[in-house]
């Protein structure tokens, strides 16, 4: 892991690139897809709120990005890849 996204003096703002596969519990509703809970390194994180959603194209496939805040008020960025049908934990501001 290395800090890349953020580089300032504020530890709270320090983002670390993770890029590890995760398991995600999701909700499909009204044509939307929302992560509710995910498991990373054998630890379960409950999503408190989704603060951002966006999509990027990779050829004919899509990458669905989700910026989420967990109950512990930590920030995570999750990506769903429609080609591989895998979830990736892309980034977090969690220390350590």
């Amino acid at each position: 892991m290395y800090a890349d996204n953020f580089y300032g003096m504020d530890a709270d703002a320090m983002i670390q690139d993770i890029n590890e596969s995760i398991t995600v519990l999701i909700k499909f509703s009204g044509g939307h897809l929302d992560p509710l809970r995910f498991k990373w390194k054998n630890r379960v994180f409950d999503v408190d709120r989704v603060t951002g959603k966006w999509e990027e194209r990779e050829g004919q496939f899509k990458l669905h990005h989700f910026a989420v805040i967990t109950r512990e008020e930590d920030y995570y960025e999750l990506i769903y890849n429609t080609r591989t049908m895998d979830w990736l934990l892309s980034k977090t501001d969690l220390e350590g």
Binding site: F6, Y7, G8, D12, A13, G52, E55
Partner: protein, 446 residues
């Protein structure tokens, strides 16, 4: 002569006074989107930029960062000098585009005539809708409330309301952030006449100096300056300047679905380090030509004027162009011409900081495509190759296939993924202007 925005289509006598135009400008957009996603950043000095080592510039600064004198366009190094604890975020162009499109949906609920002016600005023509001069502030409040409901309290907009785009744009910046300013027909002079000419939309630094030298300091001075003298000094632009200073603008709000006419397509890239090596510059040029040609084919444009841009280490820039006899959308032709210009105009003693390529004289593919009959067989084979490459990229993404020449190796021997996909370059800055959305994407810093 005029800076961006001064493309007003003006004609004397037509004031557009009966129109009701909103200009909606998101406040510190990129930085605000980052704060929206990471509420911990709220109230902190945040900039969206590249890494200081990469000589990047600030694309957006939060209002807390602005208190330290940090502004968009400033080098990231300078931003850190002014505020050592500023938080620099590398940014997510895809996210900004997504939010921007969602914002357009909100505006469309109020009028079908919505013109995205940039990724964070739009004009909305409210003429003929339920919005009137009497209730326009309430309507602006409704739009703000919808934005707040959809994106939370950290994403705010400043709205300017006027009888034309010029006035709406100019008054939109008078009460930032999160403000609403209304200037009704006939009120322009009273509000703006005393302000410096530089406050007028589209007046750049050079025009301001030229006007100052003529004794024109304020917008009111310009409105009252003899048009004939302005015309003598600035040509046809002089008359436009006069009309603008009088608050006149007939430019229609062009609905997004009508599309903006694409006049050029180009890419620029600031090198990670200055280079004296023309081979290195050639490689960058080849990659840029590949990206430009790919986008031209995707959008079905052909062009016949190819220009090459260089910025040297001392920030001196040159741009040289050549017109070819036929229209093209092939990178080999773009590269051949651009490379020729590079060799002709580079300065061996000076390091190169930025390389750019641009194609103009654009026409739609269906309009005309002259093929050199003697080249037909080779042309067919090459077009098949391009079609195959495009098909692979369509399916697997822009990184999926590239020229061997553009592949480099890092210290460990691993292959670096060299080509930067359009719009997803190493740095999000400068990109993402809807008006030339797919026309110019700059990568790296200035």
């Amino acid at each position: 002569m005029l800076a961006r925005g001064a493309h007003h289509k003006l004609s004397p006598g037509k004031t557009g006074a009966h129109k009701l135009i909103f200009h909606i400008d998101m406040d510190a957009f990129f930085a605000s989107v980052e704060v929206m996603c990471r509420p911990k950043l709220k109230g902190k000095p945040v900039i969206v930029s590249g890494k200081p080592a990469a000589r990047s510039v600030v694309a957006a600064a939060s209002y807390a960062a602005r208190e330290y004198g940090i502004r968009s366009g400033m080098s990231t190094v300078e931003a850190f000098r002014r505020c050592p604890h500023v938080i620099a975020v590398s940014g997510s162009p895809g996210q900004y585009i997504y939010v921007s499109l969602e914002l357009l949906r909100i505006y469309k609920e109020h009028s079908t005539i919505v013109e995205p002016y940039s990724i964070d600005e739009a004009f909305v023509d409210m003429t003929g809708t339920e919005c009137t001069w009497e209730n326009c502030k309430d309507v602006a409040g409704e739009i703000k409330a919808k934005i707040r409901k959809r994106f939370g309290p950290n994403l705010t907009a400043s709205i300017g309301i006027g009888p034309n785009k010029l006035i709406a744009k100019m008054c939109g910046s008078m009460d930032k952030p999160d403000g609403v300013t209304v200037i009704r027909p006939g009120e322009f002079g009273g509000v703006f006449n005393g302000l410096a000419v530089s406050r007028m939309w589209g007046i750049g630094a050079k025009t301001e100096i030229a006007l100052n030298l003529m004794g024109v300091a304020t917008i009111g001075d310009l409105a009252n300056f003899p048009v004939a003298m302005l015309r003598r000094r600035f040509g046809i632009t002089g008359e436009v300047l006069h009309l603008m200073a009088c608050g006149q603008d007939d430019t229609p709000v062009t609905p997004y679905f009508e599309g903006m006419p694409v006049k050029s397509m180009g890419h620029e890239h600031t090198l990670p380090e200055d280079t004296w090596d023309i081979m290195e510059a050639e490689k960058v040029l080849l990659r840029l030509c590949d990206q430009v040609a790919r986008r031209m084919r995707k959008k079905q444009y052909l062009g016949n004027v190819i220009s090459m841009r260089l910025r040297f280490a001392d920030f001196d820039s040159i741009s040289r162009q050549r017109k070819i006899k036929y229209y093209t959308d092939e990178e080999r032709t773009l590269y051949k011409v651009a490379r020729g210009l590079l060799h002709q105009y580079w300065r061996p003693g000076q390091a190169i900081r930025l390389v750019g390529v641009n194609c103009t004289g654009l026409i739609k593919v269906r309009e005309w495509h002259q093929v050199d009959l003697f080249m037909q067989r080779e042309e067919d084979a090459y077009r098949k190759l391009l079609s195959a490459i495009d098909a692979i990229r369509d399916k697997f993404g822009e990184h999926a296939i590239t020229r061997a020449r553009l592949i480099t190796h890092d210290a460990s021997g691993d292959i670096d993924d060299v080509p930067l996909p359009p719009g997803l370059s190493s740095s999000p800055f400068d990109m993402l202007r809807y008006q030339d959305a797919d026309d110019h994407i700059h990568t790296g810093g200035k």
